[in-house]
């Protein structure tokens, strides 16, 4: 079992133990998606129009809430320094860390988004499309989150700064994600937005870990 598999299993095990942090993300996702129809009206075609933005916005807020505990706990207990000192490339290790964090924090969102979609009168294959959109969108979001978290490791109160960094970079994802959901519900051709989301996923998974590794080396200095 090489070191990358080990780190992957270790991080999964740790995030299972830290279930309370992940739960805050999921609860935020459900709450935002649940509150919207209550306060904005719940007739069918209105819900069909707002499901895209609501799902994307709540996945952004969910990732924002649980953004703190990507690197901060590891910095406090010293295991981040051991990662930096290992012989293996830090970008690879950070890629594994981001992947395992994505699985433990964003996969539940994908599952929950199917329930939310059915609550928004979405039926049949469209639910699968909504889930696929959330899957693709959260991959880029998790990379931007980890970069922002790594950049603000040394900062004492990083809350406002992280949001300011996160918002402009995640805007294209929110736009194209909500368009992807809207097109799939209206039955229009959804290849455009999905190509964009996949493209952004590939871009962020290739450049993200490298930038995050460099940011970690700086913050640890």
């Amino acid at each position: 079992m090489n070191i990358y598999q080990q780190l992957f299993l270790r991080d999964l095990k740790v995030s299972m133990k830290r279930w309370s942090d992940l739960l805050t993300g999921i609860i935020m996702f459900i709450l935002v998606a649940f509150i919207f129809p209550l306060i904005a009206g719940s007739d069918q075609d209105f819900m069909h129009r707002i499901i895209g933005p609501v799902i994307l916005l709540s996945s952004l807020l969910a990732s924002l809430i649980s953004m703190q505990n990507i690197f901060k706990p590891d910095l406090n207990n010293g295991s981040l320094e051991q990662l930096v000192l290992s012989t293996h490339s830090l970008s690879g290790l950070v890629f594994i860390k981001i992947l395992s964090y994505w699985i433990s924090s964003s996969l539940p969102l994908v599952v929950v988004s199917s329930l939310i979609a059915s609550a928004y009168y979405v039926t049949g294959i469209d639910i699968a499309k909504v889930m696929l959109t959330v899957l693709l969108a959260t991959t880029t979001l998790v990379n931007i989150n980890s970069l922002a978290a790594a950049l603000t490791l040394g900062v004492r109160y990083p809350g406002a700064l992280m949001t300011l960094i996160l918002f402009p970079l995640s805007l294209p994802i929110l736009m194209f994600g909500s368009k992807a959901i809207e097109y799939s519900i209206l039955g229009m051709d959804i290849s455009g937005p999905f190509y964009f989301l996949t493209g952004m996923m590939l871009l962020s998974f290739s450049l993200g870990p490298i930038a995050t590794a460099f940011a970690i080396r700086i913050s640890i200095d």
Partner: protein
């Protein structure tokens, strides 16, 4: 282990314009034990972190086998094991899990003799969070001893260790040195550590 050499030539570190340490040089060969003395806040930890490559020096450089440690070709990190003030253990996992998933991957982790030496055998299944400060310190020490790396760097290893563990630690360090290993320790107390032959005092 062939003879490695760790050199530090005229290193100095400034944090913006606050001097941390100035013009420190030493040469550590196989079998040497360097002790860094100095009271709190004298820059011991910063010096150790620059030796590990975590902090960038303002002037001077750290050489491993006459090559800078951050050069691509350098295999410095194959030989380095570092114990910081934070123990590098994950509180949520048990001691055994920390050991099996530890990043110093060697086959040594099957024999738990070092853990017995530190009387940690009975608490191997309990999560690190439930261990006392001294116990997790001893666990981190035993991980490094078991890591099989040739250069050990300890940052104040003797803090909150009971005397029985200190003797065991000195015993292991002596064995490591006789086996051509290298050790760097830092301390803020004056007591003499038996096996040291090099010393630096930080002002």
């Amino acid at each position: 282990m062939q003879s490695d050499v760790l050199q530090l030539d005229s290193a100095s570190l400034f944090r913006d314009d606050q001097l941390i340490f100035n013009d420190i040089s030493f040469e550590l060969k196989s079998g040497d034990h360097l002790i860094i003395k100095g009271n709190n806040g004298s820059g011991k930890t910063s010096l150790i972190r620059t030796l590990c490559g975590l902090t960038q020096l303002t002037e001077g450089s750290v050489l491993w086998n006459h090559a800078p440690i951050d050069a691509i070709s350098s295999d410095y990190y194959n030989h380095l094991a570092y114990l910081a003030h934070t123990n590098g253990l994950i509180p949520e996992l048990t001691l055994l899990e920390n050991l099996t998933y530890s990043l110093h991957k060697t086959d040594l982790d099957k024999d738990h003799s070092v853990l017995e030496g530190f009387q940690l055998k009975q608490s191997i299944q309990s999560p690190v969070a439930t261990l006392s400060n001294g116990q997790s310190r001893k666990a981190a020490l035993s991980f490094i001893i078991m890591s099989g790396k040739s250069l050990w760097v300890f940052d104040e290893p003797y803090a909150n260790l009971d005397s029985q563990s200190i003797d065991y630690l000195n015993q292991r360090i002596a064995a490591h040195l006789s086996n051509n290993g290298m050790v760097i320790t830092s301390t803020n107390r004056e007591e003499v550590i038996p096996t040291t032959n090099l010393e630096i005092t930080m002002s």
